[in-house]
Symmetry: C2
Subunit: 334 residues, 2 copies
């Protein structure tokens, strides 16, 4: 048997479909007795609104799509929490699409958006394609997009971010303040816009202290555990070992910590470590990780609010939120 429609309900309640619809959306405009009859018919049939029909008629879906590059990356979870709370407060359902940084999957979600299944989107990563060009989008009346964090300042879309360069500067300055002079940086992947910003902050901090930025102190990385382990191997192989390392994210720092521990290199006695992000596990690293906290829930919430404004016809400006240096046990004096 097939799904009951509004018509089935109407017939059973002995009213017109218009009245049923009103009972569902503006209950107080219909007579109490009628309303009761209708609602009872709704229960009796197990009726549910057909979203496709509703959405076709109303020209909106009451859904936001959040495109995430990698759900497995714990960094994103709290952002999602912030988004969700704002979204549901506005009566929207938040749906997450995991692009896996794959072009094909990203395309699939973009199509989803273009097909009108979401009223707008939040983008948590550098898009693989340039489909999001804002002027074009707006001209065509397409659903708006707000980007979070991993996006360049000139990319077009409205953005929520922190001052990545400043944060990197603060992290490295903390190490310098502890007396470190030979400080390495383990960078993110070249393809990621954040990488350049954090490298720039690292270099600027060195310069501010009258230090040279040495190429051999800039380690490659890809945000993964393994590249943290690789960084340790490289660290250990060097004649002039750095006394401190600043990592472009926490996960790489954790990989380094694991390798260091196994090799008998102690943190912070032998080397100081600073991460970036303050992910959930940073507090339970051994030792607990000094890192840059991004206000993730706030970032998500702010982005969602921006999106709602845009949907509402306004044209808000991008937002920059404050970061925080969280000093734990992985950093110490030289």
């Amino acid at each position: 048997m097939s799904r009951p429609t509004i018509e089935d309900v109407a017939r059973i309640a002995g009213v017109s479909i218009a009245t049923v619809s009103r009972c569902l959306h503006m209950p107080d405009v219909v007579a109490v007795k009628t309303r009761e009859r209708v609602l009872s018919a709704v229960r009796q049939t197990g009726y549910n609104l057909n979203a496709a029909a509703q959405s076709l008629r109303q020209r909106r879906s009451n859904t936001v799509l959040v495109m995430v590059p990698d759900i497995g990356n714990t960094f994103f979870s709290k952002i999602l929490g912030g988004i969700e709370s704002e979204a549901s407060a506005a009566g929207l359902t938040m749906l997450i699409g995991d692009t896996g940084r794959s072009r094909a999957r990203e395309d699939a979600y973009v199509r989803y958006l273009l097909n009108g299944r979401a009223d707008g989107a939040l983008l948590l990563a550098d898009p693989q394609a340039a489909w999001f060009d804002i002027p074009t989008r707006n001209a065509m009346g397409l659903p708006p997009i707000v980007a979070i964090s991993e996006i360049g300042p000139d990319s077009g879309p409205v953005t929520v971010s922190i001052d990545n360069e400043g944060a990197a500067h603060a992290a490295v300055s903390h190490l310098i303040g502890l007396g470190h002079r030979r400080i390495a940086h383990v960078a993110g992947p070249d393809s990621n816009i954040l990488t350049a910003q954090r490298v720039a902050g690292y270099r600027r901090a060195l310069h501010s202290a009258g230090l040279q930025a040495e190429p051999w102190l800039e380690f490659p990385g890809d945000f993964g555990l393994t590249s943290g382990r690789a960084a340790f191997a490289r660290f250990q192989g060097q004649d002039q070992r750095p006394s401190a390392l600043f990592f472009a994210n926490d996960e790489m720092a954790m990989g380094f910590l694991a390798s260091a521990y196994a090799a008998g290199v102690r943190v912070p006695r032998d080397v100081s470590i600073v991460g970036f992000d303050d992910i959930h596990f940073a507090q339970s690293c051994i030792p607990a990780l000094t890192t840059i906290r991004q206000p993730r829930a706030e970032m998500g919430a702010a982005a969602m609010r921006l999106l709602l404004e845009i949907i509402g016809g306004k044209a808000p400006a991008s937002v920059q939120l404050p970061y925080e240096l969280v000093i734990r046990d992985s950093t110490g004096p030289v």
Copy 2:
């Protein structure tokens, strides 16, 4: 300006809307010249299908909804990967809904499903409500649901899981084999069905070895880092300290490890630790964590395949997948 419709395309291409539709869905049935005219008109207008209209007409949405209890829990990411690959192979878009184990949010996603916005759902957690009662659902022609892992055997829905009791038994037997006799278990939350299964396996393993299951060796927990730390506090406060602990998940084990390290208690020298799940960070714990690996990608893929079968009208049986005891460095002889 508003979104172009199929009619705009038809007008510009000088054909009927039926032909446009055919160009999009059955291109080879339309003359090459016509097709070219149409596709060019599509490009020119920037036309995109209206999913609501299509879905209303076709009575399906080509979408699967995956309900996750907590996106921040790294355990779920690989499951999602497995689901995604099967889903996209079948031409379906995978959408993730994060219920946050909240009844209200779960309801929102269930409504989403009931409203026909997804053709089926995958449930990665114990539902908060009993809305998923299968016989009722099928009778009403509602979208099918397949559950993964965290669900009781009699709950109704088709399920993909591992033998949790057997896995717990294997973990504890491993400890017993190493000579441990006083073995504690840090359990999951009572509300979670897995908790009882793993406790049962723990007890059975003790009994098999002629040991008593002592209530004071069963620690409460909630799957969070903090309850792992609490377990350490309790462990340290005991007169007769266990020589080994089996945790109902890796995250709690990690919390324990961090506290133990800080207190100078060494693993596995002073105490052996076994986790459950083999999450991403398990290999980078200090020391690397012995744990039970669940074939997460496979579980996701299997669940998706089951769902597709059900959507296709079949009535497949539940599936149980093999687990694996991964022995790393956190367990050693007494």
